[in-house]
């Protein structure tokens, strides 16, 4: 058994380009996932039966079907309806709408956990409904949900690797290309595993730090 890890260093640029696209996909789908998740969470708790039913159906559908199938549906299925798809954009949209389902559950739990008295106090001060949502409900809900949303984000980064199936040129796709060109799958995939670990460990370290220093400060 001889290992040739130099294949990694020789092609580091190629892999780092993949990492860039992984970041790009993660960041954009994080935004879609967060804001869509927020909307769905409010739909879910709204008094309108219809909106709440739609939100439930959305969450249940995306949580009970594999992400890979959703991605294939978007990437291969939509062109049949005349919508032209492109790998990176498709990956962003698919990941965004998928993580919105997970985020909405977390945010909903956060909103429910808010003390009713807080909302009533805000209303009695003459704040409009929208102001209450914007100034009281969302900031307080985000405080509680920062950590779980963070772990959803880490999950999202790990899930970007599924985009290898539509060759979105992100880290995992580039690793696959590299391994089929160089015949060194062992070294390459091992390095990729380590790289993802470093990425997620440092990210969860940052999330923990930010949460402790800024977010949960003063919450007993």
């Amino acid at each position: 058994m001889t290992f040739h890890f130099e294949v990694i260093f020789k092609n580091l640029d190629f892999l780092l380009n993949g990492l860039k696209i992984t970041f790009l996909i993660s960041i954009f789908s994080l935004f879609i996932g967060f804001f869509l998740g927020l909307v769905i969470a409010f739909m879910r708790i709204s008094k309108s039966k219809l909106l709440s039913k739609i939100a439930i159906a959305y969450v249940e559908f995306f949580r009970n079907t594999p992400f890979l199938v959703q991605l294939f549906f978007f990437y291969f299925g939509l062109p049949e309806l005349g919508i032209i798809t492109e790998p990176i954009t498709t990956a962003i949209i698919a990941l965004g709408v998928n993580s919105a389902a997970n985020n909405s559950e977390v945010i909903r739990a956060g909103i429910i956990s808010i003390n009713k008295g807080l909302v009533e106090a805000a209303e009695s001060l003459g704040l409009t409904k929208f102001q209450v949502v914007r100034l009281v409900i969302i900031p307080n809900a985000l405080r509680v949900t920062f950590r779980p949303l963070g772990s959803n984000f880490i999950n999202l980064i790990l899930t970007t690797s599924v985009a290898v199936s539509i060759t979105a040129n992100e880290l995992m796709s580039n690793a696959m290309t590299l391994s089929s060109n160089s015949f060194r799958p062992f070294e390459i995939y091992l390095s990729i595993l380590v790289l993802y670990c470093i990425l997620t460990f440092s990210l969860s370290g940052i999330i923990h730090f930010v949460d402790k220093k800024f977010i949960s400060k003063g919450i007993s």
Partner: protein, 224 residues
């Protein structure tokens, strides 16, 4: 619109889809069995809080939980065969990778469930003269299982979803059948809708059960 109504799908394709569904269920069950066996042992040892061993087990658990399953599958299927004499079949690679992946998550759940039991329960049992195993079996398991079941069923649902990734190493599960059918019929919209619905049919009842179990546990918690 007429062209979308099952143009090229035959009875054989339906058989194929159902067979794929069976394979997906089988592979998930095998992975969960492996995951539960390993995860239980690891979680149990972790719950004993032995100083060094506990940290060593984290070296097993954390990398698995923090790296993508796709990379793990590719590593097991393509990587290991390249440097050793052992070349796993797609089935072996799929089941074992998925199983070991499950074990890391299961270990965390087992550990957390056991630790959720109040220390006083252990002390009370010891003071009554029970051994470690007697305490574990007669006192702790009964209480830990309430915390364990909802999380574990949730894990099962999750592992069912990610089991679709084994199609990427060429193992013919439900997703792979869908892929093959789209290549033949050129009806991706229809086929992927069917595949999604089939996954939903397996997954939804289980996740409903998880939710039900969770509410039951919460009810228990309030009484006890």
């Amino acid at each position: 619109m007429g062209q979308y109504i099952f143009p090229n799908l035959t009875g054989y394709d339906v058989q194929l889809l159902l067979k794929g569904m069976g394979t997906t269920i089988l592979i998930t069950l095998l992975a969960i069995a492996i995951g539960l066996a390993f995860g239980f042992v690891i979680g149990l040892i972790r719950s004993m809080r032995i100083p060094v061993v506990s940290k060593l087990l984290l070296i097993y658990i954390e990398p698995i939980r923090n790296s993508p399953l796709v990379a793990q599958l590719f590593f097991a299927y393509y990587g290991i065969a390249m440097v050793t004499n052992f070349s796993p079949s797609a089935f072996q690679a799929a089941v074992w990778t998925l199983g070991i992946n499950t074990s890391a998550f299961a270990a965390v759940i087992v550990n957390a469930s056991i630790r959720s039991v109040d220390k006083g329960q252990w002390e009370a049992a010891y003071s009554l003269g029970l051994t470690y195993w007697q305490t574990f079996r007669l006192v702790v398991v009964q209480q830990a299982i309430r915390v364990f079941i909802p999380s574990f069923v949730g894990l099962c649902v999750n592992q069912l979803q990610v089991s679709s990734l084994v199609s990427l190493i060429g193992f013919v599960d439900l997703t792979r059948v869908g892929y093959m059918l789209t290549l033949r019929t050129y009806r991706p919209f229809l086929i992927w809708s069917i595949v999604a619905v089939l996954y939903f049919v397996i997954s939804y009842p289980i996740s409903r059960f998880a939710r039900y179990a969770e509410t039951r546990v919460k009810a228990f918690g309030k009484i006890g």
